[in-house]
Every structure is written in structure tokens, then in C-alpha cells.
């Protein structure tokens, strides 16, 4: 999966629990729970779907690191070893 595919998968998982979400209005750098009305059951459902689609089981201990969409995508990119888009460093 590319970083973009992971981002699309995250947004799809969010829309599956909260269909009213318009990705165009979400700020990827602002904590998700401040922007959308999802409860702990919804959130767990998102994580289950990401586990199915991306193959990453996110432990509770890492929740604090994935508060925003950007953080969540970066976390999944890191865990899957996906090459980041853009020119290589150095």
C-alpha cells in the first residue's frame, strides 16, 4: 500500500462508522475526536477495519500517538514499512 492508499483506507473506515463525514472538511492535523462525533465503540470499529485492510493491529498503548489523521497515517506507514511519497532524503 502507498501512503495515499493508506490515507484513503483510513477515510473509508471513518465514513463506514460515520457516513456524514466529509473528508474535504476534515483537518488532518487536528485531533479527530474534536472534529467528528464518534464514540469509543465507533473508534474501535475503525481500528478493526484498519487491521483487516492494512494488516496493522494498533495496541491501546499507541492510541495517544494517533490522535490526528496525519498521525494515524504516519503511524500505519511506519508499521507497514511503506515508502513515503516524495523525494528520498539526503
Amino acid at each position: 500500500m502507498t501512503e495515499q492508499e493508506i490515507r484513503d483506507t483510513v477515510l473509508r473506515a471513518l465514513r463506514n462508522v460515520a457516513p456524514e463525514i466529509d473528508p474535504a472538511t476534515l483537518s488532518p492535523g487536528v485531533p479527530l475526536r474534536e472534529q467528528v462525533d464518534i464514540d469509543s465503540v465507533d473508534y474501535l470499529r475503525v481500528l478493526v477495519e484498519l487491521n483487516e485492510k492494512v494488516g496493522v493491529d494498533i495496541p491501546e498503548a499507541d492510541y495517544a500517538r494517533i490522535a490526528t489523521i496525519d498521525q494515524l497515517v504516519a503511524y500505519l506507514v511506519g508499521r507497514t514499512g511503506t515508502a513515503r511519497a516524495g523525494p528520498p532524503a539526503g
Binding site: V17, A18, P19, E20, R33, D37, D39, S40, V41, D42, L44, R45, L47, V48, N51, D57, I58, P59, E60, A61
Partner: protein, 217 residues
């Protein structure tokens, strides 16, 4: 939907003489236990505090059956089983409280699975008729984004509704020592025709006791 809610709560407030009690409960042990057990579980088997609350209430009601059942024909009718109504807010407004049948007899992982399934089906329109009609008591949980205290409106002809507010970290004294603990305010709104405050208070104390021993739930 709005009209159905309006009819139920109007009848409740017209007919049911509510009394209200609240208890602050230290969740330190419960949350520590959950972190420990969840660290060993895959994301599909993870248990949320909400499931622990439901289990504690269901077990507590077994010991205080007068809060689990109905008021009809001028008398109390305690139910044989605990069919736990779970208040679920719907996207776009309104709420419903379908039942988890026999919640007191379910193991915690089963109760968690039942909760996840019920919330999903409630929000996608896949509930069964019996789930909508035969709850014997209701639990409302405002979760981790809401208010700290909820004083519920009893769903008639039920005789009680138990509320869980948002868990917050608070200064908390134990044995003369001050520490910071995660505290939840648990409330009971009950029908004064069926029970008295003394009985309701003992039920809340039982819920507290059960949550202090989470591995036994």
C-alpha cells in the same frame, strides 16, 4: 424518531416519581486491569470500559432485583432475567435503547461482542423487534467526550435507569493519602413507587464493589 422519544419521556415524567442518586467511583483498578488484559488481546477482542460498566450493572441488579423490571397495575414486577437496555444515540439525532438479553449471564468478552454488534446494528437499522421491546432496565453511558453526570429519564414501564458520565482524573484521598485517580460518576434514577433511596444507594455501592474487583466480572 423525535416523536417516539417525546412520547416516551413525556409519559415517564408525567407518571413516574423519579428519585436520583449518584456515586463517584474510583476506576483505577478497573482501568489498570483493562490495560493489562487488552495488551494481550488483538484489536478484534479488545474490551472497552463500557462493557465493564454494563457487566457490573447487570451483576449488581441480580443482587437488587427490585430495580430490574416493571411497574404496572399498581405494583412492582421484578424480571427473572437482566435484559439490559443500552441507550444508543443515533447519527442525525434521537436515541434508542435496545436490549442485550441475559446480560448478567454473559462473560465479559461475550458482553463486549454483544455491545459492539448492538451499536452497529442500531446505527444501520438492523435491530430485531424483541430487542426493541423487552429491556428490563436501561443503562446510559455518555462516554469519554460527554458530560460527567447524567440524570436519566426512566423508560416506562421500567423502574430504573443507570447513568455513567465521562471518566475524569481527579484528586482522590485513600487512607489519608492524596493521589490522582480516574473517577466516574455513576447515577441511578429510579421509580420511587417501586424502590426507596436506601435500596438504590446500596445498589450503587454494590456496583462500586464489583468495579473494584474487575477480574471477577
Amino acid at each position: 424518531m423525535r416523536r417516539a422519544v417525546a412520547a416516551a419521556v413525556s409519559r415517564s415524567k408525567r407518571e413516574i416519581p423519579h428519585y436520583y442518586l449518584g456515586a463517584e467511583i474510583d476506576l483505577g483498578r478497573a482501568i489498570e486491569w483493562l490495560h493489562g488484559t487488552n495488551a494481550m488481546r488483538s484489536v478484534t477482542e479488545r474490551i472497552l470500559p463500557a462493557a465493564l460498566f454494563l457487566k457490573a450493572v447487570a451483576r449488581g441488579l441480580r443482587a437488587y432485583p427490585e430495580l430490574n423490571g416493571f411497574w404496572s397495575d399498581g405494583e412492582s414486577h421484578p424480571a427473572d432475567a437482566v435484559h439490559l437496555g443500552v441507550a444508543i444515540s443515533l447519527r442525525g439525532g434521537g436515541l434508542i435503547a435496545p436490549a442485550i438479553h441475559g446480560a448478567d449471564a454473559l462473560a465479559l468478552p461475550e458482553l463486549m461482542a454483544a455491545l459492539t454488534d448492538l451499536v452497529h446494528r442500531a446505527r444501520t437499522g438492523g435491530l430485531r423487534g424483541s430487542e426493541m421491546t423487552d429491556a428490563t432496565v436501561t443503562v446510559t453511558n455518555l462516554g469519554d467526550e460527554g458530560a460527567t453526570t447524567v440524570l436519566g429519564v426512566i423508560y416506562p414501564p421500567q423502574v430504573a435507569i443507570i447513568g455513567f458520565g465521562r471518566t475524569i482524573e481527579r484528586p482522590w484521598a485513600v487512607n489519608g493519602l492524596l493521589g490522582v485517580r480516574p473517577i466516574v460518576t455513576v447515577t441511578l434514577a429510579a421509580d420511587h413507587r417501586a424502590t426507596d433511596g436506601h435500596y438504590g444507594g446500596r445498589f450503587l455501592a454494590e456496583v462500586d464493589r464489583l468495579l473494584q474487583n474487575p477480574e471477577a466480572l
